[in-house]
Symmetry: none
Subunit: 182 residues, 2 copies
DNA sequence: TGAATATGAATGAAGG
DNA sequence: CCTTCATTCATATTCA
């Protein structure tokens, strides 16, 4: 159906939201770069005003609407958090015995959970003395959450005691309880 | 849509964490079987908890991460819906029985749109034991709140004097002030 | 072997 | 902010 050429690779350069399908905004590399920088600089929930400015700035690199900026931050923030959360769960789940090796590297890069701001960049008043001072986002260990991306990053592929190299293991088929084990 | 059975032939066993490129998860026939059964049993959007269990169960048949399970259900549900949608359109277009097997191929699947559960299988409490109480989401009346309102009303494409459709323009990069323009 | 297709993975966009 | 849907991207797989 939809044409999917083999090598699309680069995202941003193909079109600034123009050219092809204008169904939805597709950030250009430049836009993405800026957004990421802002995020990493500590920006998480930009105000309407900030969104407006960012949008204007980014519009320079391609078509964009302020709502795109709004959504981008919302999604990015959420997914970044979930990713971290999921990884820990995943680990916890597959953690059998503290095997010597494979101590995994869950933490990953920026573990800056909070709205930490990098002054070096002369940021805006991200959350400046507004109402809440310390919004320690306590991640309540809820049992059910959405899953979304906790993906990418390290391929800390959870191993399983079974499944070796093609080798067939006389696995203890739990079987039957197919649909009831949940 | 040739009726080529989903038969992935000899796929399942290759990704035991070995063999070929483990770029991405490739379900083994057993895993696929279970996932499909669960889906047909009515499971559509498993909770994190369910995903964990399923993942554990499936890990027995081969390397797998919980995220794979998450994605599988997301994709399967979406594509099932999409397929059905396309068919109806197709049908609508022809104004008469396509007479082709396409329609049948699909109808073969359970047309249960909802999370209908087949009790026969003694399913889990799909949605039961859910959260106990409400999660009163307090939206702080910040100035940046409710952006959605704004989004709805204005489709302000925050245009810019530059950036037109596809047109190439040697933009005057404001650059530098990346993070300071706010 | 390259086009067509199946499907895992990612993310923009909304609804609530 | 959480959850879900719709699309799209990226590959593995098929097949002529």
């Amino acid at each position: 159906m939809s044409f999917s050429v083999k090598g699309r690779s680069l995202r941003g350069n193909n079109n600034g939201g123009t050219g092809t399908k204008c169904g939805r905004w597709n950030p250009t590399v430049e836009q993405l770069k800026i957004l990421t920088d802002l995020f990493r600089a500590g920006l998480r929930t930009p105000t309407t005003d900030q969104i407006q400015k960012i949008s204007t700035e980014l519009s320079f690199y391609g078509k964009i609407e302020s709502k795109n900026v709004f959504y981008w931050f919302q999604n990015h923030k959420a997914r970044e958090r979930q990713k971290r959360r999921k990884i820990s769960i995943d680990f916890d789940h597959h953690h059998h015995q503290p095997s010597t090796r494979d101590v995994f590297e869950i933490s990953e890069e920026d573990c800056q959970e909070e709205e930490k701001v990098i002054e070096t960049l002369q940021l805006f008043p991200v959350n400046s003395f507004e109402d809440s001072n310390s919004k320690v986002d306590k991640m309540r260990a809820r049992g059910n959450n959405q899953y979304r991306e906790y993906i990418r990053e390290t391929t800390t592929t959870s191993f399983s005691p079974y499944s070796s190299c093609g080798a067939e293991m006389e696995h203890p088929p739990p079987l039957d309880l197919r649909l009831s084990f949940l």
